[in-house]
């Protein structure tokens, strides 16, 4: 069937030059900063003036927390997701795979964990990605480093941690998350478990497909970042609000120090227990971090809370079910054990240091 119109559909690109882009960017960041600075005033005005609640009441404390944290977290997420989105436009899974194939063990694990953060891929592609990596000669342990780092250290977690708990905790989380990805991947590589991959995987040809690469202008990368903002914030905003609401409830109503006995650093069993509770829980970073902030405020120990957060985010039952398609049960068991041990180590370490 012939199309009626013969008009060539020329792709109209929006193109700005660099000076315009940076000027607009600077203005936008300045405006962002001004609004961000006003948020505490906005929260107390809304709670105590607009809603006329009494200062010092439980409900007042909860609501002020909610009205401050919600816009703050959303604004930070916006900035971080946008920035990481632009960064990600420089990477593709294909390039990452080509880069990682044939890399030596330890260096490969470190690179894979780092690339796991910035390579764009949807968590539902974990299985095809696994096959693509392994059949192209990326070592098994290196592939695991990538697959562990990708969900654990992500822009949503980092943006939220920075916003709610400060840059130090965000950096600790990123550092230890990367450490676990490198460590677990390295151990899995050392254990020589290649025979524990389902047999059909080896039979699929992982031939690299040829695709002409589109030339991206800087304005295309900005659009890419913007698409990431729409996609990610559109998906997580409800979890953020629910998480902050739960956190706000804890903040206003749970007495100070009550968490110290349950999740404090003096009870040795708190770290393993929080991992055991965390693994079956299936939540994303967006929902769990506001709760974590509130727990910390009530006397929970940092190591215990980190362990809880990591086991919720990095180890989840639905993911295991998906991975079962390509991994034999023994390898799944090893994967869970090694990652959980890494988390345990991090938990104890921080309870001892801090």
């Amino acid at each position: 069937m012939e199309s009626k119109s013969n008009i060539v559909n020329k792709k109209t690109r929006v193109r700005f030059n660099f000076i315009t882009t940076f000027f607009l960017g600077a203005v936008a960041i300045y405006l962002w900063w001004i609004i961000y600075q006003r948020l505490p005033a906005f929260a107390s005005w809304t709670t105590y003036f607009l809603l006329a609640l009494k200062e010092g009441s439980h409900l007042g404390a909860s609501l002020e927390f909610f009205f401050y944290d919600t816009p703050k977290v959303m604004m930070l997420l916006f900035l971080v997701v946008f920035g990481v989105g632009i960064l990600r436009s420089f990477f593709t899974p294909e390039k990452t795979r080509a880069f990682l194939s044939g890399k030596s063990e330890l260096a490969g694990n470190v690179l894979a964990a780092l690339l796991g953060i910035i390579t764009p891929f949807c968590s539902c592609s974990a299985v095809p990605l696994f096959i693509g990596f392994v059949t192209a000669g990326v070592p098994l342990g290196v592939t695991f480093s990538f697959l562990i780092a990708a969900p654990m250290v992500n822009e949503i977690a980092l943006g939220l941690l920075y916003g709610l708990l400060g840059w130090k905790i965000a950096a600790i989380y990123a550092g230890t998350g990367l450490f676990i990805a490198v460590f677990a991947g390295w151990v899995i590589g050392r254990l020589k478990l290649e025979g524990q991959i389902e047999d059909w995987v080896g039979k699929t040809h992982g031939a690299a497909i040829e695709m002409e690469e589109e030339k991206l202008y800087f304005s295309d990368r900005i659009i890419y970042g913007w698409e990431a903002v729409k996609e990610i914030i559109g998906r997580v905003w409800i979890y953020v609000i629910l998480g902050i609401a739960v956190g706000a409830g804890i903040h206003g109503f749970v007495p100070e120090g009550v968490m110290a006995s349950i999740m404090g650093k003096d009870s040795w069993w708190s770290v393993p227990l929080s991992i055991v509770i965390g693994v079956p829980m299936y939540s994303n970073a967006a929902g769990i971090i506001p709760v974590v902030e509130a727990l910390l405020g009530k006397g929970a120990a940092l190591g215990t809370v980190l362990a809880f957060m990591m086991s919720v985010i990095a180890l989840s039952l639905p993911e295991m079910v998906i991975l079962r398609k390509v991994l034999k049960p023994k390898l799944i068991a090893v994967f869970i054990t090694v990652v959980a041990s890494g988390i345990l180590l991090v938990g104890y370490l921080f309870n001892i240091i801090i």
Binding site: F121, C122, C124, P128, L129, I131, T204, I209
Partner: protein, 77 residues
């Protein structure tokens, strides 16, 4: 034309399929759409970022939801 959409059935994959069907309906292109959700089949196409679009055995895009304009271009509209 034979169009294959590869993806295990996540939101992005479904959106890709929906967009392609929309474009076909709008432009009255002569094409069939097949959704491939089986992991083994996806892997055997040599693709490892989903959603992917394959038209007449040629990989058109991987790992992202294509834009309508792109789909139109692939269909020659």
């Amino acid at each position: 034309m034979e169009i294959k959409v590869l993806g295990p059935g996540c939101a992005k994959c479904n959106k890709t399929e929906k967009l392609i069907r929309e474009v076909i309906n709008e432009t009255l292109a002569d094409a069939t759409v097949e959704k491939i959700t089986d992991m083994m089949q996806i892997a055997s196409h040599g693709v490892f970022a989903t959603p992917s679009v394959i038209i007449d055995n040629q990989v058109k895009c991987t790992g992202k939801v294509p834009k309508k304009e792109e789909i139109k271009k692939w269909l020659g509209r």
